[in-house]
């Protein structure tokens, strides 16, 4: 599964970077995130509750940040599983200044999805992943707007 997206933030890359790396922001903005516990440097254990049709259920997984090049790019390794299936993938995230005070965040991800979910809703996997990613970045944009400079 290949997934791509691009999101504009009304803040310079340094601020966007800080928010994207902030566990409190991540916990608040990842759709359905119930827990996000640091287990090592740049690594978290997460529990997600997804409420989307065929994907409904609780997922346990690990998120690891690697190849950090602040405030330009980093990789996000995700591994998780739940009753409906499993996912294993990596997202390449890059931040580019957009004018003086804005940032374009680009995501290019590649993931392997499997399990019963693939049998019942293979055509829905990519749109659902895209929807959840959009929700995440929309929440991040709100978080950034609401947080003090």
């Amino acid at each position: 599964m290949r997934i791509e997206g691009s999101y504009r933030f009304d803040a310079p890359p340094e601020r966007v970077w800080a928010v994207l790396q902030d566990p409190a922001a991540l916990a608040a903005c990842i759709p359905g995130c119930q827990t996000l516990e640091p287990v090592a440097e740049h690594e978290f254990a997460a529990t997600l509750s997804v409420g989307v049709a065929a994907f409904k259920g609780t997922y346990n997984g690990r998120v690891r940040v690697a190849e950090l090049d602040p405030p330009h790019r980093y990789d996000l390794h995700v591994e998780g599983s739940g009753r409906t299936g499993f996912v294993k993938g990596v997202g390449h995230i890059s931040l580019e200044p957009d004018g003086g005070s804005a940032t374009q965040v680009k995501v290019v991800g590649d993931a392997q999805v499997g399990g019963p979910v693939l049998s019942v809703a293979s055509r829905l996997v990519v749109p659902t992943a895209k929807m959840l990613m959009n929700q995440f970045f929309a929440a991040m944009q709100r978080w950034l707007r609401a947080s003090p400079m």
Binding site: T58, R83, G85, G115, S119, S122, R123
Partner: protein
């Protein structure tokens, strides 16, 4: 009020007596069984096609609300180490690797059971499944059977090198020489795709083990309750006489309800441990991964012929995907049921067939409507069309040239494995050509082509082997069972009749057909006959319903048992009428004194007399009941000619079936409405394989077509009107002359449709497209050929 006894019930289009209970929701399916104190079981299934299980933690599931028990593969291992394989084909080096009911340390297919939960209700059981933690270490998977036998392919079983379960070979004559010396050799590869049987009732079980008496009662959705009883006894060590299997109403099987499944064994284990009834019922998506699949062949075929179209030899090499483990009857399907009948209805002197049975990371395969014979028939019917195209001959003409002539029966095929009992292949072809008005149709096709429309005409002249027999042949093939059938005919004092059959009809309508046989044999009203099936406590023994054997073998057993009843009744009738038995004849459904027809007794008269038994003839015992075990001397060989007319939408590749004409010969027909029904359903399934259905896996062994949204079972609107006709060529050895018709439609239809589509595309130079002929595939072929 009973109406007057019809002069002949056999042959009458009587409505199915089963239907009122089915269409009013009063059927008794397994999932309708509700017992006091019943618990429900659910199975956790592997999300991987191939993986090592490194850890299973069931502790939180055990503590979940309502949970009564949780089992993993390790818990089951000592109780039931392996599921059974009951078709041990000889001379094939068959490997039967261990098949645990729940995976122990490795999963080998997507959907394989890993753990199970028993809880007070189904919701609690499913919720608890979520709490089971399993760590998997994914392993490389292999889903293609040809790749699976290659050096370096992922290995499924440590004790099966190259994933090769068996190599099976059968030959007659010298196919190599025929191919070497031929004027023409046609070579083609066919993919006979994997199918999901999709019975409307998914599988399930209600197991009720009585800890005090040691009796097990189990309601199953089974095609063969006695075989299930035997296998359950062997796997779990419960004595056979302590097991009662009930399969009252079964919502279709198509072969998928022959095998013994892990879920059934697990429900019994749980009930035995808990001392409570345990219910298990598949969901549809679970059915698609946990119930056996069908077909899945790769076939390389070579056909040798003379310039005039006479076929001289056939050589086949087939790779059959068995899935990850051997299901109950799996090894027999791609071998004996496929390889023996490869020559079809053609007189081919040299034939050679090699089959590789291969393990792959997919759901196990087993019988599916036709079981081996559709794979064989498709292959030979496509090859004959390819030959006709190569020689620029009419496909009807090539068939005519190669048919086994009607005067050559009984006919033994080149490999020596089958002797066709009777046939008139030319007869069904001629009738079909006339019905479809072949010459006019070809003219219409020419006209269509001039207008730029793609119209095609496809033939399938099939013969199939069914009513599988005799038991000695079953033994020679390694089938761990007999192929006879039992019947008990019990006449009550009032003349009402109960028939107990060892077959196990599950939608085919034999409760009606069998009553028709009895009505004529005993001179009773068809409504005065009750047919009992699907209960091992009531029926002494039986082999079940599959391979189009129920009417042929089970019906014959009933007819012979009725004749035995009549023999005894005649003696009693003679005694009652105070004449010698030699002076009594059976005529018009009564015992009559010869020369004095006004003096007569009915079966009812005799029955009452026999139960009162105040005055019986010398040496005749009271009561009126007889049984018979009928072991046929041969299989039966129904045949026919199907013609399909299609038109293809050039812009979308969509195939529309314009006409479907089928002339079938299954000997004398017990009930034409039932035969038509079997043909309608059968042809629908054959068309489904040709145009719609395909079980698709990705390279990791994930089933991608896991719902009815993705697996295209045809709907009524996808199917044409069926124009049916028959010829009647009785089987010389069957007591009723009948031949099976349950699978013929499916066997015949797929090649007829594909031959029609390829005929439509032939002006573009297209020679073959593999099934299913989905619009996209046809469109791509058109695009590529038009370039």
């Amino acid at each position: 009020m009973a109406v007057a006894t019809p002069t002949k019930a056999f042959g009458a289009a009587i409505k199915r007596r089963e239907d009122p209970r089915f269409i009013t929701g009063k059927g008794q399916y397994t999932d309708d069984v509700r017992l006091l104190n019943m618990a429900t079981m659910a199975i956790l299934r592997s999300p991987y096609g191939h993986a090592r299980i490194t850890r299973i933690d069931v502790e939180s599931a055990r503590r979940a609300p309502g949970v009564l028990a949780v089992y993993t593969g390790k818990d089951i291992q000592s109780v039931a180490p392996s599921m059974p394989c009951a078709w041990l084909i000889p001379n094939s080096d068959l490997k039967t690797p261990n098949y645990p009911p729940l995976a122990v340390d490795r999963v080998r297919y997507f959907g394989e059971g890993v753990a199970m939960v028993v809880a007070e209700n189904g919701y609690q059981a499913k919720d608890a499944l979520d709490l089971i933690e399993v760590d998997y270490e994914p392993l490389p998977a292999v889903v293609d059977q040809e790749q699976a036998v290659q050096e370096g392919a992922p290995q499924l079983h440590d004790d099966v090198p190259h994933n090769l379960a068996f190599t099976w070979h059968i030959a007659g004559g010298d196919a190599d020489a025929a191919i070497r010396d031929a004027d023409v050799v046609i070579r083609q590869r066919f993919i006979n795709q994997r199918l999901l049987p999709t019975a409307i009732e998914t599988r399930g079980a209600v197991a009720d083990f009585n800890q005090a008496t040691g009796d097990l009662t189990i309601w199953l959705t089974s095609q063969n309750p006695h075989i299930h009883r035997l296998l359950i006894s062997l796997v779990l060590g419960i004595p056979e006489h302590k097991i009662r299997v009930i399969a009252r109403d079964v919502g279709g099987g198509f072969g998928s309800k022959i095998p013994l499944y892990a879920g059934e064994v697990l429900a019994i284990i749980a009930s035995r441990d808990l001392g409570r009834p345990v219910r298990w019922s598949e969901e549809r998506s679970e059915n698609y991964v946990a119930t056996t699949h069908g077909r899945d062949h790769i076939q390389d075929v070579e056909l040798a012929a003379n310039r005039d179209g006479r076929i001289t030899g056939l050589r086949v090499k087939a790779w059959a995907s068995l899935g990850a483990y051997l299901s109950t009857a799996a090894p027999g399907v791609p071998t004996w049921l496929f390889g023996l009948i490869l020559s079809g209805c053609y007189d081919i002197p040299n034939a050679d067939c090699t089959v590789y049975g291969v393990f792959t990371n997919k759901t196990p395969t087993d019988a599916y409507r036709g079981a081996g014979r559709p794979e064989a028939t498709y292959l030979i019917e496509r090859m004959v069309d390819l030959l006709a195209a190569e020689l620029k001959l009419d496909p009807a003409e090539v068939r005519r040239k190669n048919f086994i002539p009607a005067d050559k029966f009984p006919y033994t095929v080149a490999n020596g494995g089958l002797t066709y009992d009777s046939g008139n292949y030319q007869g069904t072809l001629d009738k079909a050509l006339e019905l479809v008005d072949y010459q006019a149709l070809r003219r219409e096709q020419e006209e269509a082509r001039r207008q730029g429309r793609m119209m095609g005409i496809g033939f399938s002249t099939y013969v199939e082997v069914c009513g599988l027999a005799p038991s000695a042949a079953a033994g020679a093939m390694g089938f761990q069972g007999g192929l006879w059938e039992s019947a008990t005919v019990r006449v009550h004092p009032t003349g009402k009749v109960v028939v107990l059959t060892g077959t196990s009809p599950h939608g085919q309508g034999e409760e009606t057909a069998f009553a028709q046989i009895v009505a004529d044999e005993l001179g009773v009203d068809v409504n005065d006959v009750e047919v009992v099936h699907g209960d091992t406590a009531q029926i002494q023994y039986g082999m079940g319903t599959y391979g189009s054997r129920t009417a042929v073998v089970g019906g014959a057993a009933i007819a012979v048992a009725c004749q035995k009843v009549r023999e005894k009744a005649l003696k009693i009738a003679a005694h009652m009428m105070e004449v010698a038995p030699e002076d009594v004849e059976w005529a018009d459904g009564r015992f009559r004194v010869k020369g004095a027809p006004e003096t007569s007794k009915t079966i009812a008269d005799v029955a009452l007399h026999s139960y009162l038994a105040w005055s019986m003839p010398q040496g005749v015992t009271p009561g009126l009941e007889e049984g018979h075990f009928y072991d046929p001397s041969n299989n039966v060989f129904p045949f026919g000619c199907h013609i399909c007319v299609v038109e293809i939408d050039r812009d979308t590749g969509d195939v529309a079936i314009k006409r479907y004409v089928a002339v079938d010969d299954c000997g004398p027909v017990i009930n034409p409405m039932l035969v038509d029904g079997q043909l309608h359903g059968g042809i629908a399934q054959g068309i489904a394989q040709a145009l719609f259905e395909e079980a698709v896996y990705d390279e990791n062994g994930q089933l991608l077509t896991g719902t009815m949204m993705d697996y295209a079972v045809p709907k009524a609107a996808d199917l044409p009107k069926f124009e049916l006709a028959r010829t009647v060529t009785p089987s010389p050895h069957n007591p009723l002359g009948i031949k099976g018709i349950g699978e013929a439609g499916t066997i015949a239809a797929s090649p007829a449709v594909v031959n029609a589509v390829v005929d439509a595309l032939s002006p573009l130079g297209i020679k073959h497209i593999d099934m299913p002929l989905k619009p996209e595939k046809v469109w791509r072929a058109i695009e590529q050929a038009s370039r």
